[in-house]
Amino acid sequence: MAEGELLIRNGVVYDPINGVKGEKKDICIRDGKVVEEVKNPKVIDAEGRVVMPGGVDIHSHIAGAKVNAGRLFRPEDGRKGVKARTKVCRSESGYSVPNTFATGYRYARMGYTFVMEAAMPPLAARHTHEEMVDIPILDNAALPLIDNNWMTMEYVKSGDMDLLAAYIAWMMKATKGYGVKVVNPGGTEAWAWAKNCDLNDEVPYFDVTPAEIVKNLAVANEKFEMPHSIHVHGNMLGHPGNYEVTTSTYDLVKGIKPYRDRPAMHATHTQFHAYGGTRWGDFESKAGAIADYINKNEHVSIDLGSIILGDTTTMTADGPMEYSLYQITGRKWTNHDVELETGSGITPFLYSGKSPVNTIQWAIGQELALLVKDPWKLALTTDHPNAGPFIGYPIIISMLMSKRRRDESAEDMHKVIFDRAEYSSIDREYDLNEIAIITRGMAAKTLGLHEHGKGHLGVGADGDVAVYDMSPEETDAGKIQKAFLNTKYTIKGGEVVVKDGEVVATPAGKTYFVTPECDDKLTDEMLVKLKDKFEHYYSVNFNNYPVQDAYVPNPYEIKAPWRS
């Protein structure tokens, strides 16, 4: 946070959380926060340019064990993005798996100031935090994986929802995490025996189904005033015909009453879950079916996981899915199963516009955005780096804003785009207000961060602002893309961090984490079981497990009381 005053003058402001849709407006910042007025400010002239709150990414893999395993095993990706250090910046490397410094700089250049690391293996939480601290500029948080945990499955089996909640609370505190992450529930545990689970299969040895895990975690999560819902990567990701599994997963939380005005489930990287067909040969888009569901229901929000063409590094806690992908490509494959908790897989992948499957995937990601009517229900992501690196966001923005751009892209792709996807028949074009919603407003609200100053520019909000070098009337998709890749200014906590696309300051970001408040008696009861797990099955001692305060030097704690 910078001390002093800053005035961003005459910009055309898009601040959807506060209902500001392209108004010429000044933004005043004092000591890092948005205020009504300033007296002796430094002035930034934003005359006629698009101004938005700092971007908020709801789902991106930027830090931790598997991200770094991805970097480590892809020196050929590392060498793609090298850039020498400057007086201000450390050296950059990598394209789909950029180093920590490049991650911070590149997001900041796009006007983003908050990123959610989407999967933190609890046993390796220290690692995630070590990297997050090393990412300059960005505020961040991480979602611990709680779904394949033996503790979770045992409580799901016994039906002890309060004890499950106590376990969630303990894990949130032990990992300094932000919310409950679910990845291929049950399937990742099954993968430890080289098996996988569909939604209603029994998890080997645990006598529960993935559906039960999801539902019970949602129930337990809502026992607290959690800012975020459960965050779900469902079963059968990436399998042709999975869209019905997807909507059945959504159905699981129907009727669960969330703590506040957000859905009870956030379903992530939906592109990978909106597949029709029965095999790759008759693979087709089912974005329409998914969008229909989202349009008719209020209990699920989604993010896109939109494809960026080119080479990338796929990585997920969904071990069996990465194995299938590796079997298709024959490229290198890393797997890392984590005792009692989770797993992960990593393999490089090339999305090619010549491939019918990749072409349909490309269509699906954008179709979802175009067919879901209410942009407040979705966020722009590429599930970085799974569907492509985050620096591809401006490509997707330009596609959503320009039917002409989409038509041009379709011409360059495999012809299946015309008959196994709706892509070319959709005319909708996003306006800048809608872009502001899917790149900051929706994510901030869904994560409950708008109450903590993120994703908007109301008085009291963080002084995080992006000034894009474009007029609101711009229709040239190429220019739009360019403007969203490198801001005119990015301001973080009142400090100019990017000017004319160059990083000029690198303040440290904050780590946001949630502390659910749980009854001691419940916690003690839960701990009996948990300590037994440590004594017999974990390879790390109970007392060495929780993330120490030293790992979170710039903490931002959000308390989540037990709901009465």
């Binding site: 095993f73 892809r74 020196p75 050929e76 990706d77 060498r79 024959g330 490229r331 290198k332």
Partner: protein, 271 residues
């Protein structure tokens, strides 16, 4: 510029002789000359060439401070440029790195990455070349009159593909893992090779006139011919029979079955 009579070739020879003081210290710090290719020097005057920056350790220096530079003739394009490197070149790295056209002649032993990523033109090394000569080569010609080090014509770390095109001839022996992940082009080694020639190769042709150790491991395509002895033949190749090449009997193997039958499309000829 003087108008040329049609058909007459212009030619420019740039002589770069490394200064003794660069190479005779207690530490032999390499000079990296990726900025001194025919493509990058074409059209430059002697003074301009002297001012081209090269990396020497962690500092950029003027070419003229590290090399004695002399230029004869003139050239309009890279094809018309010949660079002659002289002196102790054993710590001169990245000679001809990325070159597309023209010619480089190195009069002595050269350091690593000579001809790396070259796609055209010709490099002749009058001595030995250290590791990674011809790394990720796409085209052109690389002649090493002495020995070549390890990883000749291999890929960069982690890349799927090594050499894809061009021709490489080594007069002497070559080191370990040459032509790893090779996908195209041709390599001839007049002497012996160390372990794992053509490791994981997918295409292209390698001829070893001397002996080889464990050639062809993990190959899925391409062809290796060993005219000398094979030491430690891979245990995962299938003997298909014999074939006559240049009127000599060769055993023909296919492999590598360790990659599974479906992928084992490599051919290994052994005398």
């Amino acid at each position: 510029m003087e108008e040329l009579i049609e058909g007459e070739e212009k030619m420019q020879t740039i002589r770069l002789k490394i200064k003794e003081e660069v190479t005779n210290g207690a530490a032999k710090i390499p000079v990296e000359v990726d900025s001194l290719t025919p493509d990058k020097l074409a059209g430059k005057t002697e003074a301009e060439i002297k001012a081209v920056k090269v990396w020497w350790g962690n500092k950029e220096e003027n070419t003229g401070d590290l090399f004695d530079v002399s230029v004869e003739g003139e050239a309009g394009s890279a094809e018309e440029v010949k660079i002659v490197l002289e002196g102790d070149l054993s710590r001169v790295k990245r000679i001809g790195d990325g070159m597309k056209a023209g010619e480089i002649e190195a009069l002595g032993d050269v350091d690593m990455h000579c001809g790396a990523m070259m796609s055209g033109g010709k490099i002749t090394v009058k001595g030995n070349a250290d590791c990674w000569a011809g790394r990720e080569m796409h085209g052109g010609e690389l002649v090493i009159e002495g020995d070549a080090g390890d990883n000749l014509c291999a890929m960069y770390r982690g890349e799927m593909t090594g050499m894809t095109g061009g021709k490489v001839v080594v007069g002497g022996n070559a080191g370990e893992c040459i032509a790893q992940n090779m996908a195209g082009g041709e390599i001839v080694i007049k002497g012996n090779v160390d372990i794992l020639t053509g490791l994981n190769m997918k295409g292209g042709k390698i001829t070893i006139e001397g002996d080889a150790v464990m050639p062809g491991a993990d190959m899925t395509g391409g062809e290796i011919t060993v005219k000398g002895k094979v030491l430690d033949m891979m245990p995962s190749f299938r003997l298909e029979g014999t074939e006559s090449i240049e009127s000599e009997e060769y055993k023909k193997y296919t492999g590598d079955l360790a990659m599974t039958e479906k992928k084992a499309k490599g051919v290994l000829y052994v005398k």
